[in-house]
C-alpha cells in the first residue's frame, strides 16, 4: 500500500484537508473519506456521468480524477448547490417538473446543468441535450430533465440572480 498523501482543496467553498492514497479516485475521496455521498458511482469508467462534479468550474467525471490531483484546486459537488437562501433554482425546477424518478443520476445532471447555465443563460433544447449527453438516466427518458433545465434557465434569467453563486 502506498503512503497516504495529504491533500488540501477547496470543496464546496470550504478549505478542507484529507488523506488519501494515490490510487483513490476523487469520487472515493468525496464519498468515503469526506462523507459527501451526493456524487454517485454508476459505471466507474466515465460513461454514465453520475459522479460528475465541477473541478475549477469545469465538469469532470470524479471517478476519472485521482484524489491527489485536486490538491490546491476547487471542487463543487451537488452538496454545494443549495445555500442559506434554500435550494438552487435548478434543484427547485427539477422538483417542480418531477424531473426525477429513482434520482441516482440527478446529482450529476444538476452539476452538469449548472456548468451550462453558468456559461449560457439561454441554451437551446439541442444544446442542453448535447451538453448532457454524458449523463445517463435510465428512468425518465430525458424530456422532463430537459424541461427542468429550460425552466431553471427561465427562473435564473427572470430573477436576474447571480448564477455563479
Amino acid at each position: 500500500m502506498a503512503a497516504k498523501t495529504r491533500v488540501s482543496a477547496k470543496i464546496n467553498g470550504e478549505q478542507v484537508e484529507f488523506l488519501c492514497e494515490p490510487r483513490q479516485s476523487l469520487l472515493e475521496c468525496l464519498r468515503d473519506v469526506l462523507g459527501l455521498t451526493g456524487s454517485k458511482e454508476g459505471c466507474n469508467d466515465g460513461n454514465c456521468g453520475a459522479c460528475s462534479v465541477l473541478l475549477n468550474g469545469r465538469v469532470v467525471n470524479s471517478c476519472l480524477v485521482l484524489g491527489v490531483e485536486v490538491h490546491g484546486q476547487e471542487v463543487t459537488t451537488v452538496e454545494g448547490l443549495a445555500d442559506w437562501r434554500g435550494l438552487h433554482p435548478l434543484q427547485q425546477a427539477f422538483l417542480d417538473n418531477a424531473a426525477l424518478q429513482c434520482g441516482y443520476c440527478i446529482p450529476g445532471i444538476l452539476i452538469t446543468s449548472k456548468a451550462l447555465l453558468d456559461r449560457e443563460p439561454n441554451p437551446s433544447e439541442e444544446r442542453i441535450r448535447t451538453w448532457l449527453a454524458g449523463n445517463l438516466c435510465r428512468c425518465t427518458g430525458y424530456d422532463k430533465i430537459v424541461r427542468a433545465v429550460q425552466d431553471a434557465a427561465v427562473r435564473l434569467r427572470q430573477t436576474g440572480q447571480e448564477v455563479n453563486r
Binding site: M1, A2, T5, E21, P22, R23, Q24, S25, N44, D45, G46, N47, G49, S52, L55, R58, V59, V60, N61, C63, L64, V65, L66, V68, E69, T112, A115, L116, T130, W131, L132, A133, G134, N135
Partner: protein, 296 residues
C-alpha cells in the same frame, strides 16, 4: 485499483527522468480518461503515475499567424474547441476534438492522450494527420520530431521509447485556399466511438479550378489510424468534382484494412470509408472556398 506512487513534476526534465527510471512500470497521466480506466480494470499495472499537467510546455496553446499552432500534450479538449483562433483557423481540428466524449470527458481528455493511447478509432488522429501535424517528443537522449502519421504503431502502441514523453503537437499554418474536414459514423451522435472516421484536407490552386494537394486519413479501419496517401495524391491537378472524389474514395477503400467487431462489419466499414471520404472532401473544398460547410 492496485497501489501506485504519484508525482507531479513541474519540468519536462524531471518527468523524463521519472519515466526513464521505471521502465514499463510507469505511465504519464494527462486527462486520465483512458489511463485511470485501464489501471482500474487491470489492463495496466504500474508502480508510478507521473502527472504531467503541471508542466508548462504541456499546458500551453500557442497560435501565431505564419508560425502555426502548438498544443501542449496535456491541454484538455474543452480548451481546444473553445479557443477562438483554433475555431477560426483550424475548424477541421475542432470537428474531430469536438466529437471526443461528452462535456465531462472534454473537461479532462487531451489530444496528446488520444494520440498516446493509440486507439485505431481515436478521433483527433486522422484530423492531425491531414493537418500535417508533428509531435515534439523529449526523452533521455534529447528532443525528436515525429509526424503524427508515424506515431501510432499498433493498437495501444506508439513510437515512444523508454522515458520518452510527448510534449506538444505542432500544426503548420494553413496555406491559402485550403480546407480541412473530419467526419465520423457512429450509431449514437454523442458519447460514442467511431465505426469509421475520415479526415480530408485540400488545397485549391490560386485561381481555384483544380486541387493542387490533398490528404486523406482514416480511423477505425486498421490497427492504427491510417494515412491514405494514394487517395490524396490522385486528386492533384483534378477538379474538385464528384468524379474525382469518387476516385479518391475508391483508393481510400483500397487502403482501408477493416475488421469485423461489435461496432460493425468489415464490409460496412469499407462502404463507410467511401461515403465519408467523399463527404469529407466536399466539406474540405467548401472550407477552402471560404464557406464553413462540414460536408454533411
Amino acid at each position: 485499483m492496485r497501489a501506485f506512487e504519484y508525482i507531479a513534476p513541474t519540468t519536462v526534465g524531471e518527468a523524463v527522468a521519472a519515466l526513464a527510471g521505471k521502465g514499463d512500470r510507469v505511465r504519464p497521466l494527462a486527462g486520465g480518461t483512458d489511463l485511470i480506466v485501464q489501471l482500474r480494470c487491470g489492463l495496466l499495472d504500474v508502480d508510478l503515475v507521473v502527472d504531467v499537467k503541471k508542466i508548462s510546455e504541456l499546458n500551453m496553446v500557442t497560435y501565431r499567424p505564419g508560425e502555426g499552432l502548438t498544443i501542449g500534450a496535456a491541454v484538455p479538449c474543452h480548451r481546444i474547441v473553445e479557443h477562438a483562433d483554433i475555431v477560426r483557423v483550424y475548424p477541421g481540428l475542432v470537428d474531430a476534438v469536438g466529437l471526443i466524449g461528452g462535456t465531462a470527458i472534454k473537461g479532462r481528455a487531451t489530444m496528446g492522450g488520444n494520440l498516446c493511447n493509440a486507439a485505431p478509432s481515436g478521433d483527433s488522429i486522422p484530423a492531425m494527420i491531414v493537418l500535417k501535424a508533428n509531435c515534439t517528443v523529449v526523452g533521455p537522449a534529447g528532443v525528436r520530431t515525429v509526424a503524427v502519421e508515424h506515431f501510432c504503431t499498433g493498437p495501444g502502441e506508439t513510437v515512444l521509447g523508454r522515458g520518452e514523453l510527448l510534449v506538444s503537437i505542432h500544426f503548420p499554418p494553413p496555406v491559402a485556399n485550403s480546407g480541412v474536414c473530419y467526419l465520423r459514423f457512429t450509431p449514437r451522435h454523442e458519447m460514442d466511438i467511431a465505426v469509421v472516421g475520415v479526415g480530408a484536407s485540400v488545397v485549391l490552386s490560386a485561381d481555384r479550378p483544380t486541387i493542387s494537394a490533398a490528404r486523406v486519413a482514416m480511423g477505425a479501419v486498421g490497427p492504427t489510424p491510417l494515412y491514405a496517401e494514394a487517395a490524396g495524391a490522385v486528386l492533384k491537378g483534378k477538379a474538385p468534382s464528384e468524379e474525382s472524389f469518387a476516385e479518391a474514395a475508391r483508393l481510400a477503400q483500397v487502403a482501408a484494412r477493416p475488421i469485423t467487431d461489435m461496432r460493425g462489419t468489415d464490409a460496412q466499414r469499407r462502404h463507410l470509408v467511401g461515403v465519408l471520404t467523399r463527404r469529407a472532401l466536399r466539406g474540405a473544398v467548401e472550407r477552402a472556398k471560404g464557406g464553413t460547410a462540414n460536408g454533411r
